[in-house]
């Protein structure tokens, strides 16, 4: 089996290498990939959509269907993780660790014991005991707002610079995962509970599809944002630019929350009690 696999991989590589001399050189402006559709995009995207970043214009307008279903694929991946891993069963060991904040003493509460009430003095910590790390917490708290602001900037400025819904969404999701790593999973779950996370993901997909349906209702084709011109009070070209922004916001919501949900399920094996 091992030898057969090696032979297959080498034969496959040999076949690709055999075909490679017929491929255009690296950086050849006359290569077939660069001469068929893309010159139209480069020359007309600014006039068609008023978006200087051609990648964004192609992503959300010319190839809007493709991106819509990519977003649906990401949403489906989040749902698949939910159905594969989510474990609602009772925990086997019910002993919890609490830290008394003023003194730093750690309490272990066995099953049946009185749990301290949810006060500022007691803080639940993970059963795999880790020392309280002031530096990581403070550094994380300092850096986090800037990462999130940058993520929003990447989403909003995707028309004029590299960026857009996918990139900004991934940065925002990474910021939330970073929060879960530098603090603990419970504090992230307090800000973005599991159910809300998945609902926001669905809302993101809904914004994308809803924009398309809105165009349909206003007399245009599905995802033809020029139909939104009357609603937004701008000319059709500018309406495409705004339509792209709406769609990108939907993508960003879906990507952010699916990234966070994937982390929730994978880091806790579906139990959502104690993270990494």
């Amino acid at each position: 089996m091992r030898r057969l696999g090696l032979i297959t991989a080498v034969l496959f590589g040999g076949l690709l290498a055999y075909a490679t001399p017929d491929f255009p050189d690296w950086g050849d402006p006359r290569s077939p990939a660069s001469t068929h559709v893309s010159p139209y995009y480069i020359q007309n995207s600014l006039a068609d959509t008023a978006v200087p970043n051609i990648v964004t214009a192609v992503l959300a307008d010319y190839r809007g269907y493709d991106t819509m279903f990519e977003t649906t694929v990401i949403f489906a991946a989040g749902l698949a993780c939910l159905f594969l891993l989510r474990n609602f069963g009772p925990r086997a060991v019910e002993s919890r660790l609490y830290r008394h904040r003023p003194t730093g003493i750690t309490l272990r509460i066995e099953q049946g014991g009185d749990l301290p009430e949810n006060s500022a003095e007691f803080e639940r910590i993970d059963s795999q005991w880790v020392p309280y790390d002031l530096i990581i917490r403070c550094a994380g708290r300092l850096v986090l707002p800037f990462i999130q602001l940058f993520a929003l900037y990447v989403v909003a400025h995707g028309h004029h610079s590299p960026g857009g819904g996918f990139q900004g969404g991934v940065i925002f999701g990474a910021a939330l995962i970073f929060y879960a790593l530098s603090h603990d999973l419970r504090s992230t779950l307090g800000h973005l509970p599991e159910a809300r996370s998945l609902i926001v993901a669905a809302v993101g997909v809904l914004i994308y599809v809803g924009t398309g349906v809105l165009c349909l209702l206003l007399g245009g084709a599905f995802l033809d944002y020029a139909a939104l011109a009357g609603l937004l009070g701008v000319d059709p070209v500018m309406a495409r630019s705004h339509g792209i922004l709406m769609v990108e916001i939907g993508v960003a919501l879906a990507v952010t929350t699916v990234m966070v949900s994937l982390y929730y399920y994978l880091a806790t094996a579906g139990r959502l009690d104690e993270g990494l």
Partner: protein, 131 residues
């Protein structure tokens, strides 16, 4: 002869790199017995394809596909002056979908480990034959 070979090696360097990466990924997916290693092989294969697409987008002497729309030069947008945006668009979504598929693959692996207690392919096959 030697000059031809060097020209071929240098002018198509991007293809050689993606072929090597793709073979590593394929080999990992076929040969490795551990499911996590198979998933890593799948990821290397995806990376190879992303590299292939992004490299065919490049044009010698061209700039990035964002049009300067302030000041002079707005009227004359030349296709040779900007790299091909289409592969970038395709790979932009492909990268995020690769992360999503990676998440699902890891979830499946965790589920298998929960049910069978192992991720080794031969042990899994033996257990499934017994059932």
């Amino acid at each position: 002869m030697w000059d031809d070979f060097v020209r071929l090696a240098v002018a198509k360097a991007n293809y050689w790199i993606y072929i090597v990466l793709m073979c590593i990924g394929l080999w990992g997916m076929i040969v490795k017995g551990n499911l996590v290693k198979k998933i890593i092989g799948m990821n290397i294969l995806q990376t190879a394809i992303i590299l292939f697409y992004v490299s065919i987008a490049s044009k010698a002497g061209a700039t990035l596909p964002i049009i300067t729309h302030h000041g002079p030069g707005t009227d004359s947008i030349q296709a040779v002056g900007h790299i091909n945006p289409l592969p970038h668009v395709l790979m932009l979504t492909a990268i995020v979908v690769a992360v999503a598929t990676l998440g699902v693959a890891l979830a499946l692996a965790m589920r298998i480990h929960r049910d069978y207690g192992t991720l080794e392919e031969d042990e899994l096959l033996a257990m499934m034959r017994e059932k």
